[in-house]
C-alpha cells in the first residue's frame, strides 16, 4: 500500500468521518494497491505474479513501433546489390525452394527479380547500411541493433500480425502486452499498464486493425490493452456528460462511495471495496489521461524534433511523443501501429511517403528517451509482420514496381533496454529471400523481449483448457547475440 494514497483517502474525502467506517489495512491494499486496475472478481491479482521478474530486468518497459502491412526490408534495411545485377531474371528455384506464395501472385507466369531503386549509405560509427528512405534512422544507427534474419511462417496480414502480437496465427491468444501486464503488473496508479496508439492518417489507407490484436485472449480481460484514441475522447467514455463538472462528479462519487460502504457493511462482499477503488481510479484517469495527451508543456525544440506531423493528432509523430510521455508515466507496454506498408504495386511512390511518416519521429523518440535517461531501461522495437519479395508483383521494372508479402527473411530493429547498440545481427541470402545466418524467429524475438523484462518466457504461463500456455507456445530461444 502506498502511504501517499492513504493520506489522500483521509484528506480528500469526507465519508470516513461521516460514517465512522474505517478501512482495514488489507482492504486499503486491495483498493489502492497494485491490483486496483483490473483486479478480478475471483480475487486473483493483476498486480503481477509473485516470483516475477524471474531475474533482474534490463528493461522496465517496451515501446513497440509496429509497421503494419509488411515494410520492404529490401528497400529499407537490407541492401541487396545482386538484385540489381540480376534484374528481371527469374528467381532461381534454388532460392525459392518451393516456398508457397500468396493467392495474389500465384497466377503470375514468372517471378522476376526486382532490385530496389533506393540507395543505401552507412550510418554512424558502426556503419550499418540503411536506405536513403530512412535518413534520420540512419543518423541514430549507433543506437540500433538491426536484425536482418527475422522470419515467420505466416504469409497474410491477419495471421502474421496476430502471430507477431500473440505468438499464434489464430486469434484467441493474449497479446504480448497482456502477458507482460499479467506477469509484471503495473507501475502507474493513474494509467493502465498496456496502452495502444494507432496512427490515423487520411492519406493512408491500409489494412484495418482489430482490437483483438491487443486483446487479453484467455487471460482476465483487465489485462487487455487500452486504446488511447486521437479523435474524440482518448479513452472511451472518459469525459463526463455535458453539465457534469469535476466538482459535481466528485459530489456524485462521494455519494456512491458512501452508500457502497454502507452496502459493504451489510453484504460483506469484498468485491465492493474493489469497486470503490476502481471508481476512484476512473476519476483519477479522467485527469491523468487528458494531462498525458496535452502537449502544451513540451518545449518547442522537443516537439519539433519529432517533425512537423507532431502537430496533428493521430499522426505517428504525435504518437511517438505520446509514447515517450507514457513511458515517463510508468506505462509498461506501449504499442504503436502505423499502417499502409502493403506495397503490392506502386511501392516506388508509396514507400518514400510512408517512410517519411515514421523516420524522423522514430529517430526522435530514441534520442528523446536517451536524453532523459530512459533509453537504458526502455526496449524499443521497430518492424512489421513480414517483409516483401525480391521478385516483383507483376512486371519487374527498375523504376516502378511492387512486391508481394514475404516472411522467410525480413528485417527490423531494436534499441535500448539492454540491447547491444550499433550492430547488425543475422543475414539473408543475396536475394533477401532466405535467412543464411543467425535466424531469428518471431518466437525468438518474443522470448528476447520477455527476457529483457526479466521474464523467462518458458515460465510465464497460464493454464487454459487444461494446458499451460505461453507467449512463445513451445518454441522460442532468447537471441543472446543481441544482448548488451
Amino acid at each position: 500500500m502506498s502511504c501517499h494514497n492513504y493520506e489522500q483517502l483521509h484528506t480528500r474525502r469526507d465519508f470516513l468521518a461521516q460514517t465512522g467506517l474505517g478501512l482495514g489495512a488489507a482492504a486499503l491494499a486491495q483498493v489502492f494497491g497494485g491490483n486496483a486496475f483490473g483486479a478480478t472478481a475471483a480475487g486473483s491479482s493483476s498486480g503481477g505474479l509473485t516470483g516475477l521478474p524471474h531475474f533482474p530486468a534490463k528493461a522496465k518497459r517496451v515501446i513497440c513501433l509496429f509497421q503494419s502491412g509488411g515494410p520492404s526490408h529490401l528497400d529499407l534495411l537490407d541492401e541487396k546489390p545482386v538484385l540489381g545485377a540480376r534484374f528481371n531474371e527469374d528467381l532461381p528455384d534454388s532460392v525459392r525452394r518451393g516456398q508457397r506464395i500468396t493467392g495474389m501472385v500465384a497466377s503470375q507466369a514468372r517471378l522476376a527479380v526486382q532490385p530496389s531503386k533506393f540507395a543505401f549509405q552507412p550510418g554512424g560509427k558502426c556503419g550499418t547500411r540503411i536506405s536513403d528512405l530512412l535518413p534520420h534512422t540512419r543518423e541514430i544507427a549507433d543506437e540500433l541493433c538491426v536484425i536482418r534474419s527475422v522470419h515467420t511462417e505466416a504469409i497474410n496480414h491477419d495471421p502474421a500480425i496476430t502471430f507477431f502480437q500473440s505468438g499464434s496465427q489464430l486469434p484467441g491468444r493474449p497479446s504480448m502486452g497482456a502477458w507482460v501486464d499479467y506477469g509484471l503488473g503495473r507501475l502507474s496508479e493513474n494509467l493502465p499498464s498496456f496502452v495502444v496508439l494507432v496512427s490515423v492518417n487520411a492519406k493512408r489507407a491500409g489494412q484495418g486493425l482489430l482490437a483483438r490484436l491487443w486483446g487479453s485472449g484467455f487471460l482476465p480481460s483487465g489485462h487487455q490493452g487500452v486504446q488511447f484514441r486521437s479523435a474524440g475522447e482518448p479513452v472511451l467514455y472518459l469525459n463526463d456528460a455535458p453539465g457534469i463538472t469535476r466538482e459535481r462528479r466528485r459530489a456524485m462519487l462521494d455519494g456512491i462511495t458512501e452508500l457502497n460502504r454502507l452496502q459493504h457493511a451489510q453484504s460483506g462482499d469484498p468485491e465492493i471495496e474493489t469497486r470503490i477503488g476502481q471508481f476512484e481510479m476512473a476519476y483519477r484517469m479522467q485527469a491523468s489521461v487528458p494531462e498525458l495527451m496535452a502537449l502544451d508543456g513540451e518545449p518547442a525544440h522537443v516537439r519539433e524534433s519529432y517533425g512537423p506531423d507532431v502537430a496533428t493528432p493521430g499522426s505517428f509523430a504525435r504518437n511517438c511523443l505520446l509514447a515517450r510521455r507514457l513511458a515517463e508515466r510508468g506505462v509498461r507496454f506501449i504499442q504503436l501501429y502505423h499502417r499502409d506498408w502493403d506495397h503490392h504495386g506502386g511501392l516506388h511512390d508509396s514507400l518514400p511517403n510512408i517512410a517519411k511518416d515514421v523516420d524522423q519521429p522514430s529517430a526522435a523518440l530514441i534520442r528523446d528517451l536517451k536524453q532523459r535517461g530512459l533509453l537504458d531501461d526502455t526496449l524499443v522495437i521497430w518492424g512489421g509482420e513480414f517483409g516483401r519479395t525480391p521478385y516483383a508483383q507483376g512486371e519487374a521494372n527498375r523504376e516502378k514496381y511492387g512486391r508481394d508479402h514475404h516472411g522467410k527473411a525480413f528485417s527490423l530493429w531494436l534499441a535500448g533496454g539492454g540491447i547491444k547498440p550499433g550492430m547488425t545481427y543475422g543475414a539473408s541470402d543475396d536475394f533477401g529471400f532466405n535467412v543464411t545466418e543467425n535466424p531469428v524467429h518471431i518466437h525468438d524475438l518474443q522470448a528476447t523481449i520477455l527476457h529483457q523484462l526479466g521474464i523467462d518466457h518458458e515460465r510465464l504461463t497460464y493454464k487454459f483448457q487444461g494446458r499451460q500456455y505461453r507467449l512463445t507456445d513451445v518454441h522460442g530461444k532468447v537471441v543472446k547475440g543481441v544482448l548488451a
Binding site: A36, F37, G38, A39, T40, A41, A42, G43, S44, T50, G103, I155, N156, D158, P171, V200, A205, G208, L210, A211, R212, P220, S221, G222, R229, A231, G232, V235, Y237, L238, D240, A241, P242, G243, I244, T245, R248, A251, M252, L259, L262, Q263, Q266, S267, G268, D269, P270, I276, Q278, F279, M281, A282, M285, D404, E458, R459, K463, Q465, G466, R467
Partner: protein
C-alpha cells in the same frame, strides 16, 4: 486474496490434504490429476512425445511389468517402480526429471504412496463415463433442515455438513425477486411486480413468480445472449473489411426456440444438422445457421482453401467445446497430451464438417456483401415478385438494345458489337461489355464504364439513353435483391470430400492418413475396432449422438453452463474443459443428478431452470461475514446465495428498464444505438461508418445491438468477443467499466429519464421521489442512513446546478428522449445526477 488461504480452501473443498487422510483415496479426483499434470506429457495419450513406450493413462501401462520392473504393484509402494522413481534422490532416476517444469510436491508423493498402499484402485476419468444418478443424501445436520427440500439442497447441504458449514438464511423476498427476475429475464422487476409479490403471502407465491418469468418473452431474450456467445454470433464476418452478413433471423430462431422451451436435444440437432433432417422445414434449415456464425476471412491474398479449412476447424472446435466440454483443438496438430483424443479423432470430426459446399472464397450468396453461399432465401412472395419483375425489365431493355445495336453497329448475324466495323472505327478501346450481346452484359461496373465511352466518342442521345435505362434496370433489380433476407446455412455435398489428417493442422500438408466421420474413439464401445470398420457418420448422426445416452458429456456440459449462469461458476469451473486436466467438480453427484434429471425430463430447459431457482440453495441470502468469505471466497460450497456484478449487456437493459425506456419489440435486423463517433471508421479506415438509429430503436434490448465483429459494441465489457466459441466470460472489475456506467450516453439518458419520470409523477416530496427511483433500481426502499446521504447529495447537486443553469440545461438534455418542459432544468439536472449515482451503486450493478 491470500494465496495460502486459497490453497487451504482447495484442500478443504476437495479433500486432497491431510485433513482427510483417513478417508479412502479417490483415484479419479486425487490421483489421476497428479498423474496427468506431472506425467502424461511424456507418458500419456500422445504417441508422438511418449518416452520409454510407457503410458500411464491406461490401466495396461500403469500396472505393466517389463524386464522384472513393475510400474505399480497394488499394496506395495516399495515394490512399485513408480513410487521408487518419484521418491528417488538420484538425478538420473527421479521422475519427473529435474528439468521438468512440473515437480511433485512432498504431499503428492505421499498421496501416491498411500494410494498404492491402499491397493491402487484404478478408474477412468469421471467425465468419460456416463453420469450416474446417485440417491439423494440425507441431510444430517438438523440446523440445515428445510421443508420440502429440493434435490439440489440435499446434495449441497450434505456437503456443507461435511465441511462443517451452515447454509445462509433465505434472502429477503424483495432481493430474491430481483435476483430471479434478472436471472430469468435479464431485466429487473417492475415496481408493480415487486408490490404484488410482497403483498402475496400465500404459500405458492414464489413458484407463481417463477412460472410467470419462465413464460415471459423476455426469458428467451435473456438466455439467447449466452447462446450467442457460444455460437460466436455477430452481424459481420470479422477480419479485414469486416463485411456485413444477415444472421439475425437465426438469432430470432434461438430466441423463439428458447421461449417455446424447445427440448435441448432438438435444439442441438436442428442447429447442428437441421438441413439434413428428413423434409427439413424452413425453420430447421435456418437453425443450421449455427455453424455459419463463425468468422470468415476473405482477405485479398487469401488462399480460399486455407479459409475453408479454418472454418471447418472452427466448427469442430466449437462443437467439441459445447457438447463435449473437451479441448479437441489440441488434437488438431498431435494426439492430445492429457485426454485420450487422437489426432485421427480430431479429423474424424473434421470429416463430418468437411462435407459442406463452402469453398472458402467469399463469393456472394447474393444480396448483402457478407452473405456467402449456401444461403437460405427468406424472401416474402412480394419481395420475390419484385426481383422477378425487375429482372424481366432488364431483359426487356436488353432486347431493345440488341435491336438498336443491330442497326447502329451492323455486323454478321450472331456476332457481338465488337465485330462490327462501325464499332471498330470508334477511337480507343471498345468497352469489354460490348464483346457480349446485350442480354449477357451483367457487369454493372463494366456498363458504368461503357456509358461515358459512348457518350463521349459517338454522341447518340438515343443510344446513351438506352444504356442508361439498362443501368437503371440493373440497379433496381440489385436493390430489390438486396432487400431480400438471405441467411447463411449449412448444406451437404452430394459427393463427399476425402478427409486426410493434416500434418500439424496445416491445410497444405495432407498426410496419407485417410479418415472417415466417426465419434471420437474414447467414446466408442471397446469392442468396436478401427475407424475404417465403422460406417461413415454425417452431421446428423453426430448431432444425434451428442445428445444421446452414449455421450457422457452432452447433458453435463449443458447443466454446468446453466449453473454457471446462476451462480457465476459452474460445478466444473472450466466450462470449456471437462478433461483430465480440469479441476474436479465441486459437487460431482449433484452435477450428475441434474444431468440425468435433465435427460429424464426430455431435456427440458425451463424445468432445469425452475429446479435451480426454486432450490433453497439459490434462495439463500448472499450476505457473508469476512470469516466465511475467507473460507470460501468463490462460494464453491454454496453456503450462501450468488452475488455478482451483472453482465454489461444486462446493465444496459436494466438501466433502460428502470427508466421506463426499454422497447420490448422482439427480433428483426440489429439496431445501432448510441456509440462514440469514429469507432467503426477508425477500425476500418473509414470504409464503414456508423449510422446511429434514432427514436425507439435506441431503447431496444442489448441482444439486438448490431455486433461489428472487429470492434464490438462499445457499451459492453467482459462480454464474449464473438470471434470464437465462448462458454465462459470473465467477471473483472476495472476503472474502464466505471467509465461506461457513469458516462455512456445510454446510461446518462436513462438517469435523466428516470429523473424526469419521478419529477412528473404524482409523488411530490423529495423523500417520496427518492423512494420511487431507489426502489425502481434496487427493489427496496432506502434505509434511513442511506436516505439522509442521498438527500444531502441531492441538496448539494441542486445547489451546484442552481449556480450554473447553463450546465444544468446541458445535463437535462442528455440523450434524444423528449425533455419535459414543465419541470425546471435545475431540478431535472440535480435529479439526473442523483439517478446516475443510484445506477452506479454496487448494489444496482450487482445481482444481489
Amino acid at each position: 486474496m491470500n494465496p495460502r488461504l486459497k490453497f487451504s480452501l482447495a484442500v478443504l473443498a476437495f479433500g486432497v490434504g491431510p485433513l482427510h487422510a483417513a478417508e479412502p483415496i479417490d483415484f479419479n479426483r486425487q490421483i489421476l490429476p497428479i498423474l496427468s499434470d506431472a506425467c502424461f506429457r511424456c507418458h500419456g495419450p500422445d504417441a508422438g512425445s511418449r518416452k520409454a513406450k510407457l503410458r500411464l493413462d491406461q490401466r495396461e501401462g500403469l500396472f505393466r511389468t517389463r524386464e522384472d520392473v513393475t510400474v505399480v504393484v497394488p499394496g506395495k509402494p516399495e515394490a512399485s517402480d513408480l513410487y521408487l522413481r518419484i521418491s528417488s534422490k538420484e538425478e538420473d532416476e527421479v521422475m519427473p526429471p529435474r528439468e521438468s517444469s512440473r515437480q511433485l510436491k512432498p504431499a503428492e508423493i505421499d498421496l501416491l504412496k498411500r494410494w498404492i498402499a491402499a491397493g491402487a484402485p484404478w478408474g477412468t476419468h469421471w467425465a468419460f463415463s456416463a453420469p450416474q444418478r446417485a440417491p439423494l443424501p440425507a441431510i444430517e445436520n438438523p440446523k440445515s433442515k428445510i421443508e420440502n427440500p429440493n434435490p439440489i439442497d440435499a446434495f449441497v447441504r450434505a456437503k456443507l455438513a461435511k465441511e462443517k458449514l451452515t447454509p445462509a438464511p433465505a434472502a429477503e423476498r424483495a432481493t430474491l425477486l430481483r435476483r430471479v427476475t434478472l436471472d430469468l429475464t435479464g431485466v429487473p422487476p417492475t415496481p408493480a411486480e415487486l408490490g404484488a409479490f410482497l403483498a402475496d403471502n400465500s404459500s405458492g407465491a414464489y413458484d407463481r413468480v417463477v412460472d410467470r418469468l419462465l413464460a415471459s418473452p423476455r426469458y428467451g431474450e435473456r438466455w439467447a445472449w449466452d447462446w450467442l456467445d457460444v455460437a460466436r454470433y455477430a452481424d459481420t464476418n470479422g477480419f479485414q473489411g469486416d463485411p456485413e452478413r444477415t444472421m439475425w433471423p437465426w438469432r430470432d430462431w434461438v430466441v423463439n426456440a428458447l421461449n417455446a422451451n424447445m427440448p435441448y436435444d432438438q435444439f442441438t440437432v436442428e442447429q447442428l444438422a437441421g438441413d439434413l433432417l428428413p423434409e427439413a422445414t424452413r425453420d430447421q434449415k435456418l437453425a443450421s445457421g449455427f455453424h455459419r456464425n463463425n468468422m470468415f476471412n476473405g482477405e485479398g491474398g487469401r488462399i480460399a482453401e486455407e479459409t475453408r479449412v479454418e472454418n471447418v476447424f472452427d466448427r469442430v472446435d466449437t462443437t467439441s467445446t459445447v457438447w463435449l466440454g473437451l479441448t479437441f483443438t489440441c488434437a488438431r496438430c498431435h494426439d492430445h497430451k492429457f485426454d485420450p483424443i487422437k489426432q485421427t479423432d480430431y479429423f474424424s470430426l473434421y470429416d463430418i464438417f468437411n462435407q459442406m459446399s463452402e469453398t472458402g472464397s467469399a463469393s456472394g450468396g447474393g444480396g448483402r456483401s457478407g452473405a456467402i453461399v449456401p444461403v437460405l432465401d427468406l424472401s416474402t412472395p412480394a419481395e420475390a415478385e419484385a426481383v422477378k419483375r425487375a429482372q424481366a425489365a432488364i431483359d426487356a431493355v436488353a432486347v431493345e438494345i440488341e435491336k438498336f445495336e443491330l442497326t447502329k453497329f451492323p455486323r454478321p448475324e450472331g456476332k457481338p458489337v465488337i465485330d462490327s466495323p462501325a464499332a471498330q472505327k470508334l477511337p480507343g478501346n471498345l468497352p469489354a461489355t460490348h464483346a457480349r450481346p446485350a442480354v449477357n452484359r451483367r457487369d454493372l461496373n463494366g456498363l458504368l464504364e461503357a456509358l461515358p465511352f459512348f457518350r463521349d466518342t459517338e454522341p447518340d442521345a438515343e443510344y446513351v439513353k438506352l444504356l442508361q435505362k439498362h443501368i437503371a434496370a440493373i440497379r433496381k433489380r440489385d436493390s430489390a435483391s438486396n432487400n431480400i433476407t438471405r441467411v447463411m446455412i449449412m448444406d451437404e455435398l452430394p459427393k463427399k470430400r476425402d478427409t486426410f489428417v493434416l500434418n500439424k493442422g496445416n491445410y497444405e500438408s495432407k498426410t496419407d492418413v485417410k479418415v472417415l466421420g466417426a465419434i471420437p474413439s474414447m467414446f466408442r464401445p471397446q469392442e468396436i475396432g478401427a475407424t475404417a470398420d465403422l460406417p461413415r457418420l454425417n452431421r446428423l448422426d453426430l448431432a444425434r449422438w451428442l445428445v444421446s445416452a452414449e455421450n457422457p458429456l452432452g447433458a453435463r456440459t449443458a447443466v454446468n453452463r446453466a449453473w454457471q449462469a446462476f451462480f457465476g461458476i459452474g460445478f466444473v469451473k472450466t466450462a470449456e474443459d471437462f478433461g483430465v486436466q480440469s479441476e474436479p467438480p465441486s459437487h460431482p453427484e449433484l452435477l450428475d443428478w441434474l444431468a440425468t434429471d435433465f435427460v429424464a425430463s426430455g431435456w427440458d430447459m425451463k424445468k432445469l431452470h425452475r429446479t435451480i431457482v426454486t432450490s433453497a440453495t439459490y434462495r439463500q441470502s448472499s450476505r457473508v461475514t469476512p470469516a466465511r468469505h475467507e473460507r470460501d471466497p468463490e462460494n464453491r460450497l454454496l453456503a450462501r446465495g450468488p452475488r455478482h456484478r451483472m453482465p454489461s449487456w444486462m446493465l444496459r437493459d436494466q438501466a433502460l428498464a428502470v427508466a421506463g425506456l426499454l422497447n420490448d419489440t422482439p427480433g428483426g435486423p440489429s439496431v445501432r444505438p448510441y456509440q462514440p463517433a469514429g469507432i467503426w471508421e477508425e477500425a476500418t479506415f473509414g470504409k464503414k461508418s456508423y449510422q446511429q438509429d434514432h427514436g425507439a430503436a435506441l431503447y431496444r434490448r442489448s441482444l439486438y445491438v448490431f455486433w461489428r465483429r472487429i470492434v464490438g459494441p462499445t457499451s459492453f465489457f467482459d462480454a464474449g468477443a464473438r470471434q470464437v466459441c465462448t462458454v465462459r466470460v470473465a467477471h473483472t472489475n476495472t476503472p474502464l467499466h466505471a467509465l461506461v456506467t457513469l458516462n455512456d450516453p445510454a446510461f446518462v439518458e436513462a438517469a435523466r429519464v428516470m429523473a424526469q419520470r419521478a419529477l412528473t409523477s404524482a409523488v411530490r416530496t423529495d423523500a417520496a421521489r427518492l423512494d420511487m427511483v431507489f426502489r425502481a433500481a434496487t427493489a427496496r426502499s432506502p434505509a434511513a442512513n442511506e436516505k439522509s446521504v442521498l438527500l444531502a447529495r441531492l441538496a448539494k447537486l441542486r445547489e451546484q446546478f442552481g449556480a450554473a443553469p447553463g450546465e444544468a440545461h446541458q445535463l437535462a438534455g442528455a440523450g434524444e428522449f423528449e425533455r419535459v418542459e414543465s419541470v425546471p432544468v435545475v431540478e431535472i439536472a440535480a435529479w439526473t445526477a442523483l439517478c446516475s449515482l443510484i445506477l452506479n451503486l454496487d448494489e444496482v450493478l450487482s445481482k444481489e
